[in-house]
Amino acid sequence: MSATKLETSTPDVSPPVRWGEKIIEGLIWAAGLSTILIVALIFIFLLKEGLPTFLDIPLRQLFGKRWYPIEGMFGLASLLAGTLLVTAGAVIITVPLGIVTAIYLGEFAPPWQREILKPLIEVLAGIPSIVLGFLGWVALAPIIQNAGAPTGLTAFTGALILAYMALPTIISISEDALYAVPKEYRDGALAIGATQWQTIWRVVLPAAKSGIVIAVMLGIGRAIGETMVALMVTGNAANIPAFGADIMFQPVRTMTATIAAEMGEVAQGSLHYSVLFGIGILLFLITFAINSLARKLVGGESVRRKRTGF
């Protein structure tokens, strides 16, 4: 290959190397890759501050029942129990509500209703958690107390509000999943003489199963991670609720609420401080696991445009 050959080519209108573009494209690459860095940084800084939790406290004590930071007792069991209870309650409420609402929107609602309901659900997604927490505190808790609970600030109060907070996610993902079920399946069932409900129950829902499972997973993730509502309305009692019929109507304390409530008052670098970061590490790992699982369930389908054809 000869240099002479290149010289015979017509001169370029533009400079051959566009440094400006190279720099911009470099920045774009950096921005894309920075997301990995950010996740890594989050984990690193959580570890940096929270690692003593797992090194300095014997595991048996760490997962013990007693959370008395002032006496140096950092048993996470009660906090885990609180989070578990509130999350489970929220999921039990939100999943059927969300899926059924998605069914209503997708299969029954006339178009004019859909046009009102969808923005309304978007509005719900937009209400700040602190506002819902505030409402739970001033309005819902008294109602629950009047209904006979010893206090209005209970696991159930938190679960109910968290359930509504998770609804927009669950509804929109389930709706997508229902929408993706081919019309042919519905036609096939209806043509045999199945009722609409039989069609939904026996054909549409089973076919939309994986999408609905993902909706549930992400709903769980949201409920575990929510802080302000949990802080304001679950009663902030760091103990394992007594097992019984009223288990949901006792005050509890979640992991997130513990961090929010106590971080402001601890000395930086103290063991208590580390433990709060340690709880952060647990939350990070739990949500990471849930998200990875949800992603796995999608089976690597991506929304990417196929670029095989021109």
């Binding site: 290149l6 080519s9 370029d12």
Partner: protein, 253 residues
């Protein structure tokens, strides 16, 4: 080294999914003629067109072997200026594809991207290219209106004009009349005869009949292979290969 504008030498092309789109294709395209590339669907015509100016680069993971020489130089050479190549070998697509914006903005897009800011030059090119594409009289009073407001046939002539505004050496037309009615098709074909005085034209026709109408030289492709290439008269009157004859007479495809 020949006097050919474009020389395709033993070209193979494989799609990212492993299917072979072109198999050992060799042909030469001389300057100032209309070279027609025809054959049934999926015979590799469009793929070959898109290799000429390396739009094939957009197919991530595709592979090629062999070479294409443009003015005697490989378009695949290591330091080839692909941007410049695409200005010299300009392409018009099957579906009319105006860019969002006015007629004028469409026509000057290539120039502006080349860094040419001279407004006088812009104006001159807008007028010449529209005239060459036979569109000037219809749009000269509304150059600043949206290109999407044009009819299908006008859109396609706008796309031809947009390529011409770059003063390319080769005009590549991929089934440019596919969406057009017979009248618009005739207008586009008409403008091609005039254009070959100045440009080399490589075209995939809409039909065998169109190919026969416009071609100086024709090449018949089938299943990624070049079956035969010869002058249009010979090709459409007296093809050498049985498959060509079967296709031209409508026995398959």
């Amino acid at each position: 080294m020949t006097n050919d504008k474009i020389a395709v030498n033993n070209l193979f092309f494989t799609y990212p999914d492993g299917t072979e789109a072109l198999s050992n294709v060799s042909l030469n395209i001389a300057a100032n003629q209309i070279f027609v590339l025809f054959g049934p669907a999926r015979s590799g015509k469009t793929t070959l067109l898109r290799l000429l100016n390396r739009l094939s680069d957009l197919l991530e993971g595709a592979r090629h072997q062999g070479d294409i020489l443009f003015n005697g130089e490989s378009v695949f050479r290591r330091n080839a200026n692909v941007i410049e190549l695409r200005r010299k070998i300009s392409m018009v697509f099957a579906i009319p594809t105006p860019l969002p914006g006015s007629i004028r903005q469409n026509l000057t897009y290539g120039l502006r991207m080349a860094g040419i800011k001279d407004k006088v030059l812009h104006e001159a090119r807008v007028e010449t290219s529209l005239q060459q594409a036979g569109l000037w009289d219809e749009v000269k009073d509304r150059l600043d209106t949206s290109a999407f407001a044009l009819s299908g046939g006008q859109k396609q002539r706008l796309c031809i004009a947009r390529s011409l505004a770059l003063e390319p050496e080769v005009l590549v037309l991929d089934n440019p009349t596919s969406g057009l009615d017979p009248l618009s098709t005739a207008v586009v074909e008409e403008s091609l005869y005039d254009l070959k005085e100045q440009y080399t034209i490589v075209m995939v026709p809409h039909s065998v009949q169109q190919g026969a109408r416009v071609a100086d030289v024709a090449a018949f492709m089938l299943g990624g292979e070049l079956v035969e290439v010869c002058t249009a008269d010979k090709m459409f009157m007296n093809p050498q290969d049985q498959r060509t004859e079967d296709y031209i007479t409508g026995r398959f495809g």
